[in-house]
Each structure stands twice: as C-alpha cells, then as structure tokens.
Subunit: 151 residues, 2 copies
Amino acid sequence: MRVSAKADYAVRAAAELAAAEEGPVKGERLAEAQDIPLQFLEHILLELKHVGIVRARRGAKGGYWLAKPANEITIADIVRAVEGPIAHVQSDPPEMIEYRGNAEHLKEVWIAVRANLRAVLEHVTLADLVSGEMPAVVEELAASPDAWAPR
Amino acid sequence: MRVSAKADYAVRAAAELAAAEEGPVKGERLAEAQDIPLQFLEHILLELKHVGIVRARRGAKGGYWLAKPANEITIADIVRAVEGPIAHVQSDPPEMIEYRGNAEHLKEVWIAVRANLRAVLEHVTLADLVSGEMPAVVEELAASPDAWAPR
DNA sequence: GACTTTCCTGACCTTTTTGGTCAGGAGCGC
DNA sequence: GCGCTCCTGACCAAAAAGGTCAGGAAAGTC
C-alpha cells in the first residue's frame, strides 16, 4: 500500500508538462525542475508516451508535451501507466477473488478500498494539481488535521 | 498501490481467529481454513503476536487467539503489522515530503489518498468482517456498481 | 551533408521485497 | 519423558524497485 518512486516521479514530471505553456519541454529541464535522475525519467516518459498521455519530438527544439489538455488527465491515469492496476490483491483485481470461510466479506473491504483510492486519484487532474485548486473530495480530506497525523 | 499476499493472508487468518469462539486455534487449522501455506502463515502469526494483536500457547491444546476483542482490532492494525505504514511515498510519510515547483500541491493529494485508505481500513473491525455487517462507509462504497468495475 | 541535439530502446546492474521453505529448539500438557 | 505446537533464524528463488550505460534514430541547424 505504498506509492513507488516511479509513480511519484511520473506525476511530478507530468505536472511540469502541464504547467509549461507552449512548446516541447526537454527531459533535462523536467529532471532538473523536479530533481529526478534523468535517465530514469526518460524511461518513465517513454511509458507515458506509449499509453498516449505524452507526446515527444527529437532533435533541437524537441522535447515532451501532454497529448491531451491538462484537465483531461488524472493522477490515476498516470499511476496506472507506470504501476499497473490500482489496489490489486495478490495481483488480482478484488472483484475476481473468491474468499472462503470467515473471510467471505473481505472482498467488499478491498472493493471499498479501491473505490476510495479511485475517489481521489480519478478526480484530481493535472490542471487541478498545478493550479492548487483541488476537487472538493480532496479539499475535505486534506482539511482534517487528522489526515496529517502519522500513525 | 497493491495489497500483498502477506497482508491478505494475515487478515484472513485473523478473521478465522475472530470467528473461533473459545480456546486456541492451531496454526494448521487456520492454514487449512484459508488455504495458506502453513509455514509462511506461522511467520505472519508471529509478527501479529509481536505487535500484540494475537497471543499463542504451545503444546497440545495450544494454538493462537486474539489478544483483544474482535471489535477492537481493525484491518488497518493488521495491515500495518505486516506491511508497515500505509500509503508511504518513496518510503516516507506524505506529510514529511517537500515538493517543489509545479508539484507543490501533490503533497495534499497523497495526504488525501492516505486519509481515504484509513477511512476504510481503520473502521472495519474483525467483528464487522466475520459478521458481514460493514460500517456505513464500506456499505456505501461497495453499493455502487462502479466500485465493482475493473479499469 | 555534416553536426548537434534530444528522444528512443534494450541491456545491464544492485538492492530490496515478496513469497516462500527448512531445520531445529523451546515450552506446554499429559 | 514424550508428543504436540509454537518459535526462530537461516536460507532461497524470483520478481520488483530504482537506477545506469551504450548506442541508435529522428529532427533541426549550418
């Protein structure tokens, strides 16, 4: 239940792209802006390109840019691109698992977990992230001091 | 963002313990009931014992039982015991991370993610799990057909 | 057309995690 | 003392995490 460096990097790089008005941004600039190892970042950007989130051009004046408007790309899209499906259990989606005996209702718990993850990840767009104006769900969750407490 | 086999096993074994009225349950019985490799399960139960969720006695008539009433143990307790902290980013808790540039508000997103994970995991107890009567949060989330759809 | 720039790709690498197994020891009950 | 069951550490193989390296291929510039 943790967020990998790769996913974190991917979102941060995408945020930079979302903020860049006009023209392609070099990988190197993204790497510097977010302090990400360049060569690792290039692999990540390639993955984002393969799933159609990002586009790129080589050569001088080349670089990366978003394939779609920033308000049409969610954090979930990016996380799925680099980490695969969200909230799988033992590499299977929760709805596919059959639990036995007294664990029968565990399925619903994992379903709820996934639903609540989606409730955040699928509603925050890159545009939201860059502007800092989060959807209501996030505002409410982040407003509680409890959410900021370690445990 | 996935649930490990270990966490899944741990919760299932704990559910069996919660359901077992009276007396210690042998590891072997738990392993059979939930189809978990016995030796692996023993290691898991040991971890649960170390954090005070489970108690055990050896010898004939020995076995495992819950250290506390089933309605005082949450899924979060168990997941933390075997997987460590929930929703860490790059092995750091979200509130400790400083984001730069256009990713500045990413922190709030991860905080919200964690909060929503907690909203489920910390509110479902073992008693809820075996009885099948989930807290309202889970009922509502699991009620939506959308929550059951892959993506 | 040569040269530079920047992306593209696959191979490789180390460390950690995951998901186990194995062998033996230690305590409990009879 | 004997059998049962937990307890513990060592070990192991495969995968994932987090990168690095080397070279190739397109695009633009002179």
